[in-house]
Symmetry: C2
Subunit: 198 residues, 2 copies
DNA sequence: ACCTGAACACCGTTCAAGT
DNA sequence: ACCTGAACACCGTTCAAGT
């Protein structure tokens, strides 16, 4: 691979990363190319389709989330609270990177990187859930699927949850917590709901 | 208004209703026009933008959901269970009409019909919640916002919840139930999570 | 008055022409 | 080898030309 070609590829990946984080997956290929300082067609020389570019970029961010969950496991966090720390962490990543959970749907499992990163994340979440279950704070039936599906619900509603509306995000996390907590560890819902009223 | 124009408008609304229910909001104006048997430009003679057409069609469906909630209130349903009946009803409507909850986001509140229908639905859900709270099955802090936001999370993930995947939908409803139920009325999560595994 | 094919500015994607 | 402007088929939207 030629040196200039490699540099173009790196610029493209960097630009795509920031554009997707800030604006979600809807940013156009043209805008990404402009931000990278390369021609539109060069994007398609590196990735056969826009979706392949998305898979390459977002699967990286998903792996990072999985790694963070792994580190959390090695930290000295209280077993009963560790799941909720993880949920906060993933939610925070979603706030910093709008595309992170947007990508949790069937269509993306066709991409190997995405499937791998997703499996990593599911595995890490399961390990954390296990600790919570042993501590008695998490319902034994809860799976990592449940947690990720609930978190995805959050990211899909920009009115409810975006970086500028932290309180609504907190409320949603309270609902997620309530959904997966055992009655013994149940507590009142904090935060305030913020859907605009009629 | 001329008779043929009125007929065109009705055909357009009927076609848009079925197309949006079956395929969500992404169906193109061209496809709707073809299904209605009218020219593409005629759509824009009746509605200034595609979004105005969406608002007209989907706000109707949302009002129907609100009306159904009203009828549920007048039925002899057990107070402790009525909220969960309502959630099932709305989820069923979402399965029959993919566009119903897709439209629950800030951008749509600019449309008066949408805002009105949304207020109707919130009001009806609140009334049902009130019954559940008095019966002790629903946490006192839960609002209609919470319920609709959680239900929207379901509709945004076609892999988790579509008409062909009823079991995944059931599981999600169990999570919603767990999120809003009081510890006293808590029960184990039923159903099986179905996110594809790595 | 109302209808609509053709045209416009966008999108993702392809390709011929450049170095 | 690699890059890229121009072109293509789509989209939502507009408009001039038709009845």
């Amino acid at each position: 691979m030629r040196a200039d070609a490699l540099q173009n590829r790196e610029r493209l990946l960097a630009a795509a990363t920031t554009m997707f984080s800030e604006h979600g997956l809807d940013v156009s290929v043209g805008e990404i190319a402009d931000a990278a300082g390369i021609g539109r067609a060069t994007v398609f020389r590196n990735f056969p389709t826009k979706d392949h570019l998305i898979a390459a970029v977002v699967s990286e961010r998903m792996s990072e989330a999985a790694a963070a969950a792994g580190k959390l496991l090695e930290s000295e966090t209280d077993d009963a609270e560790i799941v909720f720390k993880l949920i906060e962490d993933i939610a925070g990543r979603q706030q910093a990177n709008r595309a992170l959970l947007e990508v949790l749907s069937e269509e993306w499992f066709a991409y190997p990187e995405m499937q791998a990163a997703h499996a990593e994340l599911l595995g890490a979440v399961d390990a954390v859930l296990e600790r919570g279950k042993r501590a008695g704070s998490v319902r034994p039936e809860v799976t990592s699927d449940d947690v990720l599906v609930l978190l995805k619900g959050m990211c899909m509603n920009p009115a409810i949850f975006d970086a500028s509306n932290a309180t609504a995000g907190l409320r949603y996390l309270e609902l997620v917590r309530a959904a997966i907590t055992t009655p013994a560890f149940s507590r009142p819902l904090g935060g305030v709901p913020t859907l605009p009223r009629g």
